[in-house]
């Protein structure tokens, strides 16, 4: 398949991008608002064209462990879910981090806690970037703000996770998952052959040839001293990712008196809000982290002496604001504005909040 321009939903874009990236396997369990990912994959029948395996698991727990199993064979494997299902996947994500396995997990967030609502939310920020599963690990986290980025982040997520042997997540929500936009789908990439996998992922358990030691993919190390060393190595790896893989977008931040910090759908709303502000003569910029972990702290920090305040706009009660405050070392006033439980604010509400909380 050649490069192609299409109009589709964010969820569908993920499915198409996965096939075109040459993903080996998708394992999922239905939940709104992301079910179109598996539905699209089933409809496209990629097993007939690329050989991609698509399987509906009996639960999210099972699906993420299928990802663990596929990844342990060195394959490009992914899963997707929405908030309650992602909670169930946390066991597997921790094990993947512990076993240093690559793989892509997609969270199309909805309002919680609990069964909550099926409307868009960003309330899983803490769960994703501060932990989720047990142990000292980090999850590479990408926050797309358009249907195009939903497609692009599939490739980016896999590339990063394979570069560092660490799971990666696309953290999106029902807005981006359900909205339709124009998207350029990439050219079809071929799936890796077993020979290529054995060369590029020499640790993979694919059957032991006579000339090498057995491969054991595990997160177990009962010797605490060795486990400490392993953790130290993990931390060094995380540091490397923080130094090298930060992505963000700064829109009209150079002359700004105020900066709105927002990711994903909140950034889309805020982009309109900064336009409304500028029409009123208020100089506002938008700083949009694309990687939520690693967080673009240094880049955000560079604005701390230039602006009068920052507003963290999120579809939650104030989670990313902690990272914004840490980034600017509390040297500039930082306020939060968010709607909760599945409500998306309007651009005017964002602008009003900016005026109320920072300009007064």
């Amino acid at each position: 398949m050649a490069e192609e321009i299409k109009l589709m939903k964010g969820n569908e874009a993920i499915a198409h991008a996965a096939i075109r990236y040459g993903v080996d396997g998708y394992f999922g369990y239905p939940i709104t608002p992301q079910s179109e990912i598996m539905e699209t994959l089933m409809e496209e029948k990629p097993w007939e064209t690329t050989g991609m395996v698509v399987l509906q698991a009996e639960s999210e727990v099972s699906a993420i462990n299928m990802v663990y199993g596929g990844a342990a064979c060195g394959k490009r494997v992914m899963t997707s879910s929405s908030s309650p299902g992602i909670s169930l996947k946390q066991e597997g994500i921790s094990y993947m981090a512990g076993a240093e396995l690559p793989g892509l997990i997609i969270n199309i967030m909805r309002g919680g806690p609990g069964l909550g609502t099926i409307q868009p939310s960003q309330a899983d920020y803490f769960q994703t970037v501060k932990g989720g599963g047990h142990g000292d690990y980090r999850l590479i986290t990408l926050a797309p703000a358009s249907v195009q980025e939903m497609a692009d982040h599939v490739a980016l997520g896999f590339d990063l996770s394979f570069k560092y042997n660490n799971p990666a997540m696309i953290l999106s929500d029902g807005v981006i998952g359900q909205m339709m936009e124009k998207v350029v789908l990439p050219e079809q990439k071929s799936r890796k052959t077993e020979e290529e996998i054995r060369k590029e992922q020499p640790w993979a358990s694919l059957g032991k040839p006579a000339n090498r030691d057995r491969n054991v993919v595990t997160s177990l190390e009962l010797d605490s001293y060795l486990m400490e060393q392993k953790n130290v190595r993990f931390q060094e790896k995380y540091k490397l990712i923080e130094e090298n893989e930060v992505l963000y977008e700064a829109i009209m931040c150079d002359d700004a008196d105020y900066i709105i910090v927002a990711f994903g759908s909140a950034a889309r709303v805020s982009q309109k809000a900064i336009q409304l502000a500028r029409e009123e003569g208020i100089k506002v910029g938008l700083f949009r982290p694309i990687t939520l972990w690693p967080y673009p702290s240094k880049q955000l920090n560079s604005y701390k002496d230039k602006v009068k305040g920052m507003l963290s706009v999120e579809l939650n009660a104030g989670q990313m604001i902690e990272d914004v405050k840490l980034a600017v070392e509390c040297k500039v006033p930082v306020e939060h504005f968010g709607r909760l439980g599945g409500i998306v604010p309007t651009p005017q509400e964002v602008l009003n909040a900016l005026k109320e909380k920072l300009i007064k």
Binding site: D24, G25, F27, V53, L55, A57, E58, S59, V61, S62, A63, N65, M66, V67, Y68, G69, G70, A72, C73, K75, V77, E91, G92, Y95, A99, E194, S205, L206, G207, K208, P209, A210, R214, N215, V216, V217, T218, S219, L220
Partner: protein, 254 residues
């Protein structure tokens, strides 16, 4: 005939399987895990599948199975081995994939994964060690613990009102369309070991022939967990476990 004449390759009747590593085993004396490991090693070796087999190790006493068998392994979270095996096999249909699981692993935390992998008829082998107890964590009650049997978490004996009934999970798995072979074996006598090996080989052949899921249950001993000597454990197993978990083929599809 002198000794030198006897020790000749053509006279050899028994040896350590080449796939068994020289590591000293961590299993307790009298434990069934070691014997079952040996059988798996022999079957893989006999079938010439050492280079194409992927083992899925459990949580429990056999968590270190990968230290003993010289093949590639994936270590699973507690109970998740059948899900991992599902992906490993579907993504590598030409490989031999088997799980190795205890009763806590397969019949408690991993019940859903086990039932659904079997029901989908995944072309894998599930090796199930039923010692009626959680060995590794210190002898707590398992779903398969017998009524009146004492464990660390049912110190007065398993009681229906408190703990429910022993779970005959293999009988349940035999009901599922996806399983092609479900059999219950033991390894406490030479004859039993010989028969168990035959069934294990059949299971591995089924998986390669794409016939569906094969489950080989081993009614096993846990001398430590049962607080017995190895000999007492074998006798106790025969007298108490086998009436509840009778040996033999529960299901075989042709």
């Amino acid at each position: 005939m002198n000794t030198i004449d006897i020790i000749k390759p053509e006279n050899k009747v028994y040896g350590k399987p080449t796939l068994m590593n020289d590591n000293a085993m961590h299993y307790c004396p009298g434990c069934s895990h070691g014997v079952v490991h040996k059988l798996i090693a022999e079957v893989i070796e006999d079938m010439g599948m050492a280079e194409t087999t992927i083992g899925i190790a459990p949580v429990g006493c056999a968590v270190f199975a990968y230290n003993y068998l010289d093949i590639d392994w994936i270590e699973a979270a507690h109970g998740r081995a059948p899900a991992i095996a599902t992906a490993a096999k579907r993504l590598n249909p030409e490989k031999m994939v088997f799980t190795y699981q205890g009763d806590g692993d397969l019949a408690a935390i991993g019940t859903a994964e086990t039932i659904h992998a079997c029901n989908r008829g995944e072309n894998i082998v599930i090796v199930f060690i039923n010692n009626a107890i959680y060995g590794m964590t210190g002898g707590q009650m398992a779903p398969t613990t017998l009524l009146d049997m004492k464990t660390a978490t049912c110190p007065y004996g398993r009681n229906v009102a408190l703990n429910g009934y022993p779970l005959k999970i293999s009988d349940l798995l035999a009901q599922l369309e996806g399983t092609c072979l479900v059999t219950r074996e033991t390894v406490h006598t030479a004859a039993a070991i010989k028969k168990a090996k035959k069934m294990l080989r059949k299971a591995f052949e089924n998986a390669m022939a794409g016939k569906g899921t094969s489950v080989v249950e081993f009614v096993s001993t846990c001398a430590s967990g049962w607080k017995m000597t190895p000999d007492q454990a074998n006798k106790w197993m025969v007298a108490n476990m086998l009436p509840m978990y009778p040996l033999g083929v529960l299901k075989e599809k042709e």
